[in-house]
Symmetry: C2
Subunit: 154 residues, 2 copies
DNA sequence: AGGCTATAGTTCTAAAATAGAACTGTCAAA
DNA sequence: TTTGACAGTTCTATTTTAGAACTATAGCCT
């Protein structure tokens, strides 16, 4: 597999996997959503090697998930802020958290609880159909080729 | 990082990442949801090395995502079927597909379209609050420690 | 019987990625 | 002038992955 061109495959999952499809990147993004912004913050909470952290942050900046924003002029220091593109990864992270809560839990209960500020309640994320609003299940979905696939396949 | 115990961390994201947090596993799951079930099927559509495919399938079986079901007695042959635990990964996959559609698209248009059999329409997946039904956004969610975190941290 | 094909793996070596630790450079405060 | 905080970079050893070849069972064709 040519991982370096995975983001150009005629498959939206592949393209997403090209960006967030590794363990460290997903854990870094978790920290971003928990308001971590700085190199040392990521490093100490994740115990990731500084080398890899540096690499992954660069990659996330390159793909437009994070912005590298100066917060000190002398010495020059930067922090990493989620862009809108990055914020839009939230459903992926939440879907993963929810699956972990449901299927990988232990007797200690949930590690984190999520409260929806809008309605005030503790909630679970639910994926629904944009058209009818019903919860989605794999077996109720029919997949067919769109223009991007037809053009790629010929 | 001790990846071998990542599935026991007091963090549901880590636990999920332990299972599906690598590129091949996510691509294999995509194929599962596209009804691929057999070793040769995965191998030829993904161009994954046979060695790694074998490893990843074993891991998915070990974690209860796939079941290895015989479909021929002589010679003994097996196919890999999503369990309920595996089917429940659907929101993760769909969230990734949707993000790719939204942020990684090109001029050729979407590779795949999804039709909701229940309502008959082509749809996008939307993540909503289980309590009030409103679409979720990161900034409207307050995270706090649950019992599993408190017990782990002390 | 002998050879071809299909399927589902296993085994081997080379290349790439990751881990772990040490090092660099800037500046502020003591 | 020394220490410490911060944001990285560089180095070697280990682990993972890629790529190709090999094994094994059995049906089908001649």
């Amino acid at each position: 597999m040519k991982w370096d061109t995975l983001d150009e495959e005629p498959c939206s999952l592949s393209r997403t996997v090209a960006v967030v499809g590794d363990r460290w990147t997903l854990l870094i993004l978790r920290e971003c959503f928990l308001r971590v912004r700085r190199f040392e913050g990521f490093q100490s909470s994740l115990q990731i090697t500084r080398h890899l952290l540096s690499e992954r942050l660069k990659k996330l900046v390159r793909f437009g998930i994070l912005r590298r924003v100066p917060y000190s002029e002398a010495p020059k220091r930067y922090e990493y802020i989620l862009t809108q593109k990055g914020l839009d990864l939230y459903p992926i992270i939440m879907a993963m958290v929810h699956w972990g809560d449901t299927h990988m839990g232990d007797e200690r209960g949930r590690p984190l609880l999520h409260q929806h500020k809008t309605c005030g309640k503790e909630f679970d994320p639910v994926m629904v159909c944009s058209e009818c609003g019903e919860p989605l299940h794999a077996k109720q979905v029919h997949v067919h080729a769109g223009p991007g696939r037809k053009e790629a396949v010929g």
